[in-house]
Symmetry: D2
Subunit: 488 residues, 4 copies
């Protein structure tokens, strides 16, 4: 006889059972479900609701549950499997396991426990990548490269500045996830099906034993809401989108046409028909994964849209999307970190690229304004006219002459004798005056700020993990006390 | 030494290898990949490009490959696993296996083979559901039920009419998939990496051996395009959306408030805390799956967007989405078919619901126009005024009196003595004059049309399956001939 | 001659110009663009980069720009229109307007200004709805209603508890947006095209004049990133999803079948053919808008995915999505607030609904455990068996007898004489012991917490608005000082 | 007094009215709505349901309605505006306008009329682009260019082959839309609210007068289904995705690093700060629009998901998405056509690119197999080993020597004296033997096939347009007859 259907309903159609069961995807919830059961029982026992002996039987059977507990797929989900395990071990006492709780509050509590732990792993992996970016940037503050808009070489920048651009975005991704954590780490336990229970449960106490920072007060809200999953998926997606842009850049730099970087052999593949190929496949998959996570998010949002209040089984479909997203994201981050550390920058090609396409035009226009007080828009037109008449081969002296001539055409007398006779990417980069520019002085400042922010974030993550561990120890201890007390 | 990397590249980083490999998701492609290799070799042998002996060795090793061939996960994908198997079996001759082809054309040919087969399975499952709908409709042409707009009871309809509403939509889903089939069942083989090959391959011949209706001519288009996957996913999504609407309706009809239908016990679940519950969980999961498939579609579209020409590994990410979508959809269709056949309609409740909310108001307004030549908008106002003043309990005679009075207020003299003294859902339904209405006469006509369309579609699907089977026999025979010829 | 193309490029194809221009959608950016130009010029003048006379000319022309400035659609966007206006007013001095900045930093600064202001409006509208919910809840703490899981009546709850369920979710939406604000309110100005400028701009100073809390340091990150838009859209989407669920619930409650609530006439529509209908159209559009905003989010994420570094015109496509989303959301919130205040609850129907479907079964099972020490799972089976044998009409005394009998069947002797002779929704609700339950005591506590959180959030929003206003005054004053100084 | 609310409901809240009205987006439906009303009345008059005089009044007022009919925004939508216009013109007779129809069938009929017309415009624009591609291909069959996989130069191809790759994909897009047309061009008229009407309407006759190929039989299906919009959006999206890939390719070819093509000045823009820039902005917007249309599709799918049967106002939200998508798509197609015709190919750069990266490696490996009977995988290894040891500068003679040496290492004796002393992209391309390859012979064949398919498709589109025009003439004539008859 089924644990749940009892005498209420006959046997379920086997295809329907398989279709509606989540047991094959529930494994990652197992540990959390066991902990939740333990915390709930400890609290009931401490408050005299369940007899210590019964509680002790349940708690020791929970303690004995192997982490690879074999699942009976004919039971619907992880919850019923744990209950069955306990029933077998603890006998009739096991029947008290679900007093004052329901799968509705239990499943979203377990999801929150798993989400917070995945979130912290994601943060660690982002910070590892940020560190790689800063480390490699530190070695490349003087390596000029072309900067782009519209995939056209626009102005010179440096490899360091370019890499830190990603570090900046990734640090905001960390912030965002840390903010999300506050809304994840709240306990629904004690909400039961959605309207609470007549059993005198201690919601705050259970929350503390499970390492939560508080409870979701309204019991219907507690079991219905999946905003914490959507917010986490959104944070994961934004991070993966940053990676996808980085991947796109590096794939372009690796093309024969650009040849700015050499991808490491051990992160590349070759072709089944073209033996000369070296393909940046890791980057391609990282780029594609942004699509996957967007798919997961879209899916989850569509599920939730227009769903009536409280629990509907539709919600079950989105559980596994938490770990699917975090697993893809964490792998992407770790591999991107390897890519960043192992990519070789071809300085000669980069320097040449940085100088191509008359990339110092904007600085020249600014020079005309700052030194010759020509209104910027006019300076822009003068330099623009020179740009459109530039022969395919030219020296900087040619440019100077053309500028003087063009200025004259536009009614401006120009004496460029003070302008140095060469004006290359290095000059351009060093002449930048605005905070956050590729000027090595600004880049060093930026690295200091970023290292500090990275350290603070790592500290935050460590604190969170520690606090969870502490709660876990307390729960183990209290559970043991109850068991020991009875055995005496 | 890796088959592919050979002396070209050293060993791949193991995390990168795992991240970029598809071997763990490639199993459903295995059979197709073996067939493609066989067809390719048969064709090369017949055209004298590969020595019959070498071809025979390869062909017999392919023939011997078990359907559950164990995959070496250190090889990237199904293609390399098959090649390795052949190499081991056929020795040096195995080296000819990839002459004149590439994984690029092979993978999308295999995907097309799998997609066409999944598509035909989906069509069968839709038609099974259509048949269930028509069968149940046939028994319920005289069972009135409330019809809704805005979830408000609007006008009476019948259970048959309501069920056929879905059948109509599902038959268009079948049409759409059949149209899609034309674009799926084209062969890319012979396109090699994307620019064809110097090997004199017979593209049309290989296509025929694999049961394709033709080739995708331009070799770059052939390996780059994944429109057939997107179109299939879109067709699957539209079908699942139809199911999601049907699920929503049935969930509402099953609520205590409506109590119009009884869900079968064996397709329902109960609660872990509320023993009295009977939940229509199968329908909830069917509804949720529309989200899943939308997620898959969104993901696939995002992958393709802005992807440069020819093959990029990003495309690999979407392969498994074909069978993920079709598996969910087929299960949903089959279970919906069971739901349709087993749901019990509560005629008394339905009849009462059909009469509630003054649902014959529109017919009355039409009556006033048709019989009394009152402009319809005026008739609408007269009936509307009656509606808003209707007491909570009333007889049809009351309504008649109110109509006469209200008409008088609006300056119209009305003699309703010919209006029958009761006007119920049954009268309403029978008085419908427009084709396609719930009038049982129209419903019977509709069922005939639908049965015919269903039969034609089933015939089409059978023809397609037959034609694939025939090609498969030819391939087996030609392959055997080559093997036998050599053994002589 | 075009301001920008100057002598560089000839005239643009008119269709291409219209296709790539954003001028028709840029109006909401106008005010921000003017402010940015002013702040930039004030800063340049204060630091002696631009001559005070030139600065004064520009600043007074900016000040004179009408809020409904007519746009010349042949110019690409709002930036060029403002520049052209200034050029006409200020003459040659206008040419200094763009010294040390670019459309790249200007457009995302303007977007951030608009986003922060829309975000604050959204927060106000959410809080208005939260207040309505709490107010109406306060009047309905004693009104029982059916609570659902799987759209099946599950357990009694109260109208107050149900409404506060949404208030709880909405307060998290506010939190989320407030967190987002930190990442929105940072200034990119001074980043120019993406690599900063040789003009000595004061990034921190300009940021302060524009009411920002800081700068986005890395100049490439500053102009490339649109994570603030995605995060805002995600926050808006999550809020609209909460509204869509609320709308779904209310549409169901308004159906004839449920008849639990009466929608106000002035928020309903009728039909063009069925005069008796009253349709909850406002709620339907609110539900649909969740789709719209998901579309906007998907769109924006797809745009950003795989986009190369720095500015690409693709990004322009997503600008207007900020105000499209916030406009839909704010209207939805305000109308939902009206709906909440005007909806009439039909207490008799609700009370009856709350009692339907043996909704107190779970409490009974808990009673058996708490009072008779029967293991909960066994109690669940006993009550379940009673549920499945319940006749269509029964009294509570009948249930008691059946319980005793069923318990006996399962080997348990039960004396239910202490169980009250009736056990209705009111008893059920009052017997709840867990925080956050529908028990009126818990509900009152909850309302206090929520009112406090609401007040704090409103205070935060007011502070932010004030701080923006203050910056705006300072900017106006400094701008005036420069103008006055010159006129002296 | 409102036309509809009459005495049924009081005045609607003005914000609610604005929120739920579609009048501001309905303009594109106006012409169709007028035609539908006319066809409906003609049919009613012919069948003697409406008095010829009343019909004539209505028909002449419909005929007089200006195409820029001013909309009264206080009326909900286009339907009520047309009805009001007719009421004013035709007096009391106007009240017969809505006899036997409802906004529910009328709006989806109008949407189908607009969708089919937009669909035909899209097809024309695709075919125009296909023609441009074939024309430009015809001039470039001998221009070699690098072909890519993974953005790495892989094998030589030709500009013609590359362009035809898109033409092939676009011709499938046309096919797909033509298939979609069959499901769009069906009439819902006569379904009324969803359950038909007691008025003896002639559904087939009205359908013919409106140029439809048939009717959607089931009246509930007819008004509920929006699959025709989703299918059209999906077809539009797949087309735009093809354009996005083409745009991505061309943006890359336009980069300084590649410098393979010159974008026309009149389709490019420059920068507000960097006067030397020439940005392919048209292509960027085309790429971005794939995101927009995906957003529209996602939105529409989300709206439909789980929506209850028959009409709900949610559906109104998706109406305008038909013309939003087609407008973006048509502009994109027309501009892409200009881009294709005006882009200049830099033959020297392309030829050099085609030869870079040892791009003939695959052909060499095939050569070793075909001429020297070395198993392909072994040949692949030999060439691969040479590839990885290739110095940065080398001649083909060097390669030959290295091949011989490497073969010897692998135990194979090789005499390459028959291999020509140079092996360049031109040789490579000409040596291709597989249909559909860049070999100019294959390319010419392909162009013939494509021109034929293009012509057939254009013929189909012309036929469809003609058939709509014919119906429109018949309707005008019959309408005039009725008017004239009465005037006699």
């Amino acid at each position: 006889m089924s644990l749940l259907r009892g005498k209420r309903l006959g046997r379920m159609d086997s295809e329907a059972a398989a279709f509606t069961a989540s047991v094959d995807r529930d494994r990652p919830l197992l540990e959390a479900v066991i902990a939740i059961n333990a915390a709930h029982l400890v609290s009931l026992a401490k408050n005299g609701v369940v007899d210590p002996k019964d509680a002790a039987s349940i708690l020791s059977s929970l303690r004995s549950a192997p982490t690879d507990l074999e699942f009976d797929t004919s039971l619907e989900d992880v919850h019923m499997n744990v209950e069955q395990y306990v029933s077998k071990k603890a006998g009739e006492a096991g029947g008290f396991l679900n007093l004052g709780k329901s799968r509705n509050d239990q499943v979203c509590t377990a999801l929150r426990i798993v989400t917070r732990s995945e979130l912290l792993k994601v943060v660690d992996a982002i910070l590892e990548l940020v560190e790689s970016l800063i480390d490699v940037a530190a070695e490349n503050t003087e390596v000029r490269m072309p900067g782009y808009t519209h995939l056209q070489v626009a102005q010179p920048t440096t490899v360091a500045h370019h890499l830190l651009n990603y570090a900046g975005a990734l640090l905001r991704d960390v912030q965002r996830l840390a903010d999300c954590y506050k809304r994840v780490n709240l306990s629904p336990m004690g909400s039961a099906a959605f309207s609470g229970t007549t059993v005198p449960v201690d919601r705050d106490g259970v929350a503390r034993l499970l390492g939560f920072d508080g409870i979701i007060e309204n019991s219907m809200d507690a079991v219905s809401s999946r905003d914490f999953i959507l917010e986490f998926l959104s944070g994961a997606l934004l991070t993966q989108l940053d990676l996808s842009r980085m991947a796109e850049d590096l794939i372009f730099y690796s093309s024969q046409e650009a040849s700015y970087v050499d991808q490491p052999d051990d992160l590349s593949s070759t072709s089944s028909i073209m033996p000369q190929k070296k393909n940046a496949v890791v980057l391609e998959i990282i780029r594609a994964k942004a699509g996957t996570i967007l798919g997961l998010f879209t899916y989850a949002a569509t599920i939730v849209k227009g769903l009536p209040q409280s629990y509907n089984l539709d919600l079950q479909e989105m559980n596994s999307y938490v770990w699917m997203a975090s697993s893809d994201l964490i792998k992407s981050l770790k591999l991107m970190s390897k890519v960043v550390r192992k990519t070789k920058y071809r300085k000669d090609r980069l320097e040449r690229g940085a100088a191509s396409g008359f990339s110092v035009a904007a600085e020249l226009a600014e020079y005309l304004t700052l030194k010759h007080n020509i209104p910027f828009r006019k300076a822009h037109h003068i330099v623009g006219a020179v740009a459109s008449n530039l022969p395919s081969i030219y020296t900087f002296e040619d440019i100077k002459k053309m500028l003087v001539k063009e200025a004259k055409n536009q009614g401006v007398r120009l004496d460029l004798s003070k302008l140095p006779s060469s004006y290359d990417p290095s000059t351009s980069v060093r002449s930048k005056k605005s905070l956050g520019s590729p000027n090595p002085l600004h880049v060093k400042l930026m690295m200091n700020h970023m290292r500090k922010e990275m350290k603070d974030a790592a500290g935050w993550a460590r604190q969170r993990a520690l606090s969870i561990d502490r709660a876990s120890s307390v729960l183990a201890k209290e559970s043991n006390n109850i068991i020991k007390e009875v055995r005496k």
